[in-house]
Each structure stands twice: as structure tokens, then as C-alpha cells.
């Protein structure tokens, strides 16, 4: 519908007006808009476009004409145009063009966060270190050679270099990139896996404690070419940090020599250290004093135990999980026989796959990832049997924004999966924080509720890796999920345990008929 607002005798320079309509057109539900002085020519143009103008309109009047899907959208669009014209919500922040900008006084800052295309990172990173700033580098696609040089230079300058490819960090109470705003507490974390480190931090927070720092090293810090420079620096920093009582090291399985080097350094640490190298077995820790963990959940709970001295149990006991799986799966029609894990966290996908491959040994798993845990899908866009997807992997993010930053991609896949009459169980992980999608959970919960209300017999399992302090308000979102009939677990590991038990049930039913 079309709506026209005329501001009598309101003059705005035509040049200033030219950009207003373009910005209004970007708003949701706006088909077209024109914002102009009502000159004779403009009146003609507006009439040609089908807008009705009041008969007393004169060239001295400002006219805002909008064509939107609803009256409400029209009003919003008109308001938005007026806000732009009246310069409401305009940040008067000075923008700077480079670190060298004299007015910026870069030297007076503490840290520089970089999220540029990889090829440009090196130059800016060195510049920032020269200005005496710590670094948090979110960018990927930095060459290993450049990464090593940046990290060595940082070490020489006594500066912390987090990343490249660091997804999560919490430094002096400030969350970076996709990180959560975890409460302050006695556990310090150094993580080569961003989501892994955040999962540990959130588990600790949900048990009433908090974290001192989360130092994200970047995903390749434990490659032989880098040699764990940042992880070693991170251990050093946390060892000196008075607020840190216990240290947790989080990584995926990495180069054996580098892991050993890190563990030797950790052995010498004056503070208790818990380490997890997701996918490793006990032999890795044989020669070391460091306490080993084999799931993110275990790492988090052990850290809490170290501080409180009280044994920590997962939310669901093994017996409860078995019972839950049995009861829920029994409600599904027999033809619903497959599991679909739609992950957006890379480490969470891996932790899930790892668990399933160890506990559902005779079940064939499919995945878009190539690894020893599952068969690679011929087409990532088509699930087969039991499928576990890392939707943050390149085969998906090449087409659309990463689902952690924009839920659309996974929502679309979820709708597709639910059209498959053989799907019985769906797993979702959620990541919250000030730097990620504003409402990843609500959008999924709404979709699930709609489908369940229409009688769709599918089991949903979900967990949220996030802090209660995050702007997404996860307490409320847990309620939304539960209202939609979703089983909300305490950790990614627990989600995997439940999914695994359900897969067993699904298979058993097929065998028993």
C-alpha cells in the first residue's frame, strides 16, 4: 500500500535528500520510497509512480512517499525517513581511516581487533604491535608464514597475539568476536578452539563460577609451523594473573610435538592445569602431570571441582538419558528412523562426531566434513541416513553468512530436513554473545513450535553455548525452546550423548521391526 506524508514548509537541501530514499528502501517490507521537495517536476514524478498528493501541496513542502507491504511498514518507513532527515540516531563518533591517523592516538589504546580479509592482516597487525597494542585477529586466510611472523613479533614486543582465526576471546571482562560475556571468576582459559573454549567457560558459569580471561590462540596455533607460540604465552600470562586460580587448555587434536611442548610447559605451571585435546586418548597424557579431560563438559566440570572441591555431575545421568531416549523414540512412527545433527559450531560438530563414532560403532554416519568418523556426503545439500553437518564449513558459508552470525542458512536447512519423512531426531547447537546473531534461538524455536503444533512427530535436542549476561537473554530463550517441546541439554557433549542413545533406539527398532 502507498502512503504519503507532506511536511508543509519544511525545507531540506535536495542534495541532502537524495540519499534518504535509498536508505529507507533498504528497510524490511518497503517496496519503494521517494523523499523529495515537492517541486513541480517531483510532483509529476510522484504522480506517475502512482502516489496521491494532497491538492494544497506546494514546492515549499517536503514530501515523503512510501509503498510498503502494510500500513505499519508505511508508518515505520515514514518515521525512518524523518529520523534520517532530522539526524536522529546519528552517532557523532569520529571515524578514523587508519591506525596512523594522528587524531586517533592509537598508542593510548590497549587492544586492536582485526577482522579484515586475510591478505591485509599482516600489515595492520605489525602496525598495531608497533603502537604497543595487544591483538585479537578474527580473520582467517592469513598465511602460516605471516601468522608465525606476527606472533614472534608480538612475543618480542611483549604483546599478546590472539588469532589469526580466533573466534572467541574474553579479555579483562570484554568479549571479542563471537565470544560470550561470561561472569568474572577464578578460571583462566587458553583455547585454540574458540567454541570449545566458550563451551568450557559457559559450563563453569552455569555452575555458579566464572572466568578470569579467555585467551583465544587461533585455530592453527598448535600447527608445527607456529609451535603453539600463543598458547605458551597464554599459559605464562595466566600463571602471572592473580585472578586466575585454575587454568584450562582447550584444543582440537593437534601436532603431537607441539601438544607435548605445551603439556611440558603446563606441567611446570604453578597453578593447576586441566587440558583437553579433543579426539586424543589417554596415552597423550601419560608422561604429564596435567589433568586430562576428554570432553568439553568434563574439562569445565573438572575446573569447577578444582575450585569448589565439590564433585560435579552432568545435568542428565546416563540412566536418565537411556530412559529418555527410549520413551521419546517410542512415540515416533516407525518410518522416522534417522538422526540429523545441524551444527553451527565447528568444534561442536567434531565433538559430536567423535562421540557417535565411539559409541554408535555399527551405525553408518554421514557428514559434509571429511574425516575418519563419518562417510563424506556426495552433496552437502542432501542429507543421507544419519547425517551430521557442520554448517559453518566452507561448503555452506561460501553461499551465505555463517549461521552463528545469521541464522537464515540453518533455518532453511532445518525446514528442508523436516520435509524428509524419515527424519526422527534433530540436534541443534546455539552460540550467543554480543558479536553474533541477535536472535538465533527465538527464530528456530518459533519454527519448531509451528511444526510441532501442526503435529510433526520429530524429537529436537538443543543446547546453548552462551552466558546469562549475553544480550540474547538465554534464560528466556531456554523457556521458548522448552515450550516448543525441545529437549534442552546442559552441554554439547550431553546433546551428543542423548542423540547417540536415540540413534541406538532408532536402529534397534528397525532391526526388531
Amino acid at each position: 500500500m502507498r502512503k504519503v506524508l507532506v511536511k508543509k514548509k519544511r525545507y531540506v537541501d535536495s542534495v541532502s535528500l537524495m540519499s534518504v530514499a535509498g536508505r529507507v528502501n533498504e528497510l524490511e517490507g518497503v517496496e519503494n520510497s521517494e523523499v523529495a521537495m515537492a517541486t513541480i517536476i517531483n510532483q509529476r514524478v510522484l504522480k506517475e509512480e502512482g502516489y496521491e498528493l494532497p491538492s494544497d501541496i506546494t514546492p515549499d513542502d517536503l514530501v515523503i512517499a512510501v509503498d510498503c507491504e502494510s500500513e505499519k511498514r508505511c508508518d515505520e518507513a515514514i518515521q525512518a525517513a524523518m529520523d534520517i532527515i532530522d539526524r536522529k540516531n546519528v552517532e557523532s563518533d569520529v571515524e578514523f581511516t587508519s591506525l596512523d591517523d594522528a587524531e586517533l592516538k592509537a598508542e593510548t589504546f590497549d587492544l586492536c581487533q582485526i577482522s579484515l580479509p586475510g591478505e591485509y592482516v599482516y600489515t595492520e597487525a605489525i602496525k598495531a604491535l608497533d603502537k604497543g597494542l595487544d591483538l585479537f585477529i578474527f580473520s582467517d586466510n592469513v598465511t602460516l608464514d605471516e601468522e608465525r611472523k606476527i606472533k614472534e613479533y608480538g612475543k618480542k614486543k611483549g604483546k599478546l597475539v590472539m588469532g589469526p582465526d580466533a573466534g572467541v576471546g574474553l579479555i579483562n571482562g570484554v568479549a571479542f568476536a563471537a565470544g560470550s560475556m561470561n561472569s568474572f571468576g577464578p578460571v583462566g582459559i587458553v583455547g585454540a578452539s574458540g567454541s570449545g573454549a566458550q563451551e568450557v567457560a559457559c559450563l563453569i558459569e552455569h555452575r555458579g563460577l566464572g572466568v578470569s580471561q579467555i585467551i583465544g590462540t587461533g585455530g592453527r596455533d598448535l600447527y608445527p609451523e607456529i609451535g603453539g607460540i600463543t598458547m605458551l604465552e597464554g599459559i605464562e600470562a595466566l600463571e602471572k594473573d592473580d585472578n586466575t586460580k585454575v587454568i584450562v587448555l582447550v584444543s582440537k587434536l593437534a601436532d603431537i610435538n607441539v601438544m607435548d611442548k605445551v603439556l611440558y610447559r603446563a606441567d611446570e605451571c604453578k597453578k593447576p592445569v586441566i587440558a583437553i585435546f579433543l579426539g586424543s586418548d589417554e596415552s597423550l597424557f601419560e608422561k604429564h602431570k596435567v589433568e586430562a579431560a576428554f570432553s568439553l563438559e568434563e574439562a569445565g566440570l573438572k575446573a569447577v571441582e578444582k575450585i569448589t572441591g565439590v564433585k560435579q555431575d552432568p545435568q542428565f545421568s546416563d540412566e536418565e538419558i537411556k530412559q529418555l531416549a527410549k520413551e521419546e523414540v517410542a512415540k515416533l512412527p516407525l518410518e522416522r528412523k534417522y538422526f540429523r545433527g545441524l551444527y553451527c559450531g565447528g568444534t561442536f560438530t567434531e565433538e559430536g562426531l567423535l562421540y557417535f563414532s565411539r559409541h554408535n560403532k555399527n551405525i553408518l554416519l554421514h557428514s559434509n566434513l571429511s574425516n575418519k568418523y563419518a562417510e563424506k556426503l556426495a552433496d552437502s545439500h542432501k542429507s543421507v541416513g544419519h547425517t551430521i553437518l557442520d554448517m559453518g564449513a566452507e561448503d555452506f558459508t561460501a553461499e551465505a553468512p555463517h549461521p552463528v552470525f545469521n541464522p537464515e542458512l540453518r533455518l532453511k536447512r532445518l525446514r528442508e530436513e523436516l520435509k524428509d519423512p524419515e527424519v526422527g531426531v534433530v540436534l541443534l547447537d546455539f552460540i550467543t554473545g554480543p558479536g553474533v546473531a541477535r536472535d538465533p534461538i527465538g527464530s528456530h524455536a518459533k519454527e519448531i513450535k509451528k511444526l510441532r503444533d501442526s503435529g510433526l512427530p520429530v524429537i529436537f535436542i538443543a543446547n546453548i553455548c552462551g552466558s546469562d549476561n549475553d544480550p540474547q537473554n538465554i534464560k528466556e530463550k531456554v523457556k521458548l525452546l522448552k515450550d516448543a517441546g525441545v529437549i534442552v541439554t546442559g552441554s554439547n557433549y550431553e546433546s551428543a550423548k542423548i542423540a547417540s542413545a536415540m540413534m541406538d533406539e532408532l536402529e534397534r527398532r528397525q532391526v526388531n521391526g
Partner: protein, 470 residues
């Protein structure tokens, strides 16, 4: 933990928002990718600059830029194009941009050629005009190969009345086409439209609107344009996309004199005054004439690497370098980025760069003068600081500064002048040019900016090296 973090964010702006939301003191850097430099050519430039040859080149460039700085453009009157433009004889039509054949031309130019034949009476019908053009009888010349400027489509024939500007410093005379008035924003000389009414208007301008102006110019003994340009640059114009101040200053100079005309019909004088006042950006053609006249004094200046012309024909974009005379160095015409006049337009409606009006950039106005006109830059969403940044960037590729243009936003520092091919190649910075966006179907649909493509400079540089055995 006690210390409040201060963070600089380079990159994704939502990360800036996330930090600000946490109450962190955060500065966002509006980062742009570094310019790409052709190392081989850039090294060659450095080599030349370090050689004995540089002395001759620098001297020539000083002379060239002084031709701009010392320019003394004066509006001397109105005359028929055929009387002033060199080579504009019968059956000759100028067009904008580097030379191009009829078959290669964009529709606007083709239609302009046909319109020109009808206007001059060389053909009675469109079919006849097309036949005439295809027979090869119509000579098509690039406006910037002679002493005019092809603004828009630049279609000009001998019977079109033009504004005549003479540069008293170098003696060069140019003729530029005056805007056609508010009802005819689309005449064939400018924006590539044609109709019987538009043609009649061209005669009306020649016979009715422009004679009183000619009289005033002659009565005044010529109107110096430099003071108007200089003052308007301090009042928010960059004199390419915006002439709001220049229009007023110009009118202030002539309207009283027009009112005093006593040997012409009263109504004619009033119509003429009305035409001047009503036409937006009326002064544009004067600025173009002044810029072109100054640059004509540099065409063929031995050793000088200064750019004397940049323009497009909707297909190709071309530049000229002082020492290389009238040789063109061309590549594909770029698209402009900016704002459309109506949100119904998109890039699909837009024609690649067409028009010669960036002769004004060659004289240090327009894109080089962004700092003088933040309001024009704001069209493209730029802040004052970014507008200043654009001029500061242009300084890096200019020979000198022009003390005629002290700019308040630059704390009265002077605008850069004289684009130097050598500096463009050495720095990788391409000149910013402002201009109007054209609809493929004709008509002006927006305003914005483009960069002169680097390929033009690379080709010109190679030709320069060849010419001087470098």
C-alpha cells in the same frame, strides 16, 4: 580487571557495535584496501625521476600547472558554434569522449547524430539522416579534439549557440553549450534526448534567450570568471556536481546589467533573465569553458606529464597527456557510484561514463576539490572528514597547489591542481572524478563519482617512454 579496556576495531562493524554495547571505549577504523601499484611501472617512474631527464620534465610540469594557476578566463559573449569551434563546418558533429565510430556508439550518441542532422536540416527524416551518416558524409569529431567541451553526449553542430570563454593568459578561446532551461533538461546537446520541441528550443535559445546575454557580456567588456570560481569554492561548490554558490555569484554580476539593456524588447530581456535564474547549475558551462581554455594551453607541451583531458563516450574512457598532444589513451569506461535522483533507478539503467565535463577536474575542480564541497560528497554517504580525505589523496597525484583556492575546510590550505601521470603510476592512486549519471535511454538519473581507470595511465606512460626513449 581494574583497568577499563580501550579497543580499536578494524573490520567488521558489528564487532564495533558489540564492543560499544559492552560499554567499551572503542574506535572504529574505516579501513580501505591499499591501492594496487604496478611495481614494474612504478620502479620505472622512480628511475626516470632520479635521472637527468627529470629536470626537463619537472620544468615542463611547472609551466603546465602555472598555466592553470595563472589562467584568466573571461566570458566574452555568445556565438554560433560554427564561428568559434575549430573544424565545425557543414556536415560536422562533435560528440563527447574519445573518438568512436557510429556503429560502436551507444544509443544516445547515435540518436544525437541523427538529431543533429535533422536540426541542421541536412536530412528531412530519421531514415534520411541514417543514410547520410552511413554514407560517410557526416564528419564526427571528438569535442576534446577541438576547442569545445562535450558535456553529456556533447552533440554540437555549427548552428548551436554557445557560451564563449577566452583565457586572457594564454589566448585560447572555447565554446561550451549552455544548459537548456528547466523545461528542456534533456535536449540533444546535453542528455541525449531529442524531440521537435527540443530542437525548436535550441533555435529559441539562439535567437531569443541568448542575445541579451551576449549584449551584457560585450557591454561589460567580458566577465572575469576566476573570481566567481574562487569565491564559490569557499561557499560549498566543487564546481562539477554543484554550482549553487557560483550560480548566485554569476547572477549577481550580470542581472543588473541585463535590466539596464534598453535597445532590446523588454520581454526578451526578461525571458533571458528568467532563463538564467531558473536553470539549475547554469554556471557549469562557464566553469567547463574556463577549465578547457586553460588546458588547451598545455596540449602538446613537450616533456610535460600533466593530464589535459579525461572523458568517456559510454563505451571507452580516454585521457590525454600534455606532451603527447592529441593522442588518446583508452580503456573501457567505468561506472559511477553515487546517488540516483529517484530510487526507481539501478545500475541496470546506468550508462558507463559518458561526457567531457571532467575537464574541470583537469583544472583542479570537481573530484579534486571534494574538501570544498562536503555536501556533494555526502551524496555518497561521505563525512566531512572523508571529503577532506579525498582532496588530500588527490594532492598525492598533483603537481602543485592552486593558491587561488584557499578552502575553509582545509584550514585555508589550497586545492591541488595538475594531475601528474607519473605520480598516478607511482602511487597507484587514480584521480577521482565527479559527474552526472546517465540513463541508457537518455536523461540524467543521478550524480556520483568514478576513478579514472589506471589502464589509461599505463598506456600513456608507455607511449611517453617510447617518445622520449626512456
Amino acid at each position: 580487571m581494574d583497568k577499563k579496556m580501550k579497543v580499536i576495531n578494524i573490520g567488521i562493524s558489528s564487532f564495533y557495535d558489540a564492543l560499544a554495547e559492552q560499554g567499551v571505549e572503542v574506535a572504529q577504523i574505516d579501513w580501505k584496501p591499499p591501492v594496487k601499484i604496478n611495481d614494474e611501472l612504478a620502479n620505472k617512474v622512480k628511475e626516470i625521476m632520479a635521472s637527468d631527464f627529470a629536470e626537463k620534465m619537472n620544468k615542463a610540469n611547472d609551466d603546465a600547472v602555472n598555466m592553470l594557476i595563472n589562467a584568466d578566463p573571461v566570458w566574452v559573449g555568445v556565438d554560433l558554434a560554427g564561428n568559434v569551434i575549430e573544424g565545425l563546418d557543414d556536415y560536422t558533429v562533435t560528440h563527447s569522449g574519445p573518438p568512436i565510430s557510429f556503429d560502436e556508439m551507444v544509443m544516445l550518441h547515435q540518436r544525437g547524430m541523427v538529431s543533429a542532422c535533422l536540426f541542421e536540416g541536412w536530412a528531412k527524416t530519421e531514415e534520411e539522416a541514417l543514410e547520410l551518416i552511413k554514407s560517410g558524409k557526416i564528419k564526427m569529431i571528438s569535442a576534446l579534439d577541438t576547442n569545445t567541451v562535450g558535456a553529456g553526449t556533447g552533440i554540437i553542430t555549427k548552428n548551436v549557440a554557445m557560451i564563449i570563454v577566452k583565457d586572457r593568459h594564454n589566448g585560447k578561446v572555447t565554446a561550451t553549450f549552455p544548459a537548456e532551461g528547466i523545461k528542456f533538461q534533456g535536449g540533444f546537446c546535453g542528455w541525449g534526448l531529442y524531440s521537435k520541441e527540443i530542437a525548436e528550443n535550441l533555435y529559441y535559445m539562439r535567437d531569443h534567450l541568448l542575445p541579451p546575454m551576449d549584449k551584457v557580456a560585450k557591454n561589460k567588456g567580458g566577465l572575469p570568471l576566476k573570481p566567481i570560481l574562487a569565491e564559490s569554492m569557499q561557499m560549498g561548490d566543487e564546481n562539477h556536481t554543484r554550482q549553487s554558490a557560483a550560480d548566485l555569484l554569476f547572477e549577481h554580476q550580470i542581472l543588473l546589467d541585463m535590466a539596464k539593456i534598453d535597445d532590446m524588447p523588454r520581454q526578451q530581456v526578461l525571458d533571458s533573465m528568467n532563463y538564467i535564474v531558473e536553470t539549475p547549475r547554469f554556471f557549469h558551462c562557464f566553469g567547463q569553458g574556463a577549465s578547457r581554455a586553460a588546458n588547451l594551453g598545455n596540449v602538446g607541451r613537450e616533456y610535460s606529464t600533466m593530464v589535459t583531458a579525461v572523458c568517456g563516450n559510454g563505451v571507452r574512457f580516454g585521457i590525454k597527456i600534455a606532451a603527447l598532444g592529441d593522442e588518446w589513451f583508452e580503456t573501457e569506461a567505468p561506472y559511477m557510484t553515487g546517488q540516483y535522483t529517484s530510487s526507481k533507478f539501478t545500475i541496470d539503467d546506468q550508462l558507463p561514463w559518458i561526457g567531457d565535463s571532467c575537464v574541470v577536474e583537469c583544472a583542479g575542480l570537481g573530484g579534486l576539490a571534494a574538501a570544498a564541497s562536503p555536501i556533494v560528497c555526502n551524496l555518497r554517504g561521505m563525512t566531512l572528514k572523508e571529503a577532506i580525505g579525498q582532496t588530500r589523496e588527490m594532492e598525492k597525484i598533483c603537481i602543485s597547489k592552486n593558491y587561488n583556492y584557499p578552502i575553509p575546510n582545509l584550514d585555508f590550505d589550497f586545492l591541488p591542481s595538475g594531475i601528474d601521470m607519473m605520480k598516478v603510476i607511482e602511487t597507484g592512486i587514480c584521480p577521482c572524478i565527479h559527474g552526472g549519471m546517465f540513463n541508457k535511454e537518455g536523461g540524467l538519473i543521478g550524480a556520483g563519482m568514478a576513478r579514472v581507470p589506471m589502464e589509461c595511465f599505463e598506456k600513456a606512460f608507455k607511449a611517453y617512454c617510447e617518445k622520449y626513449g626512456l
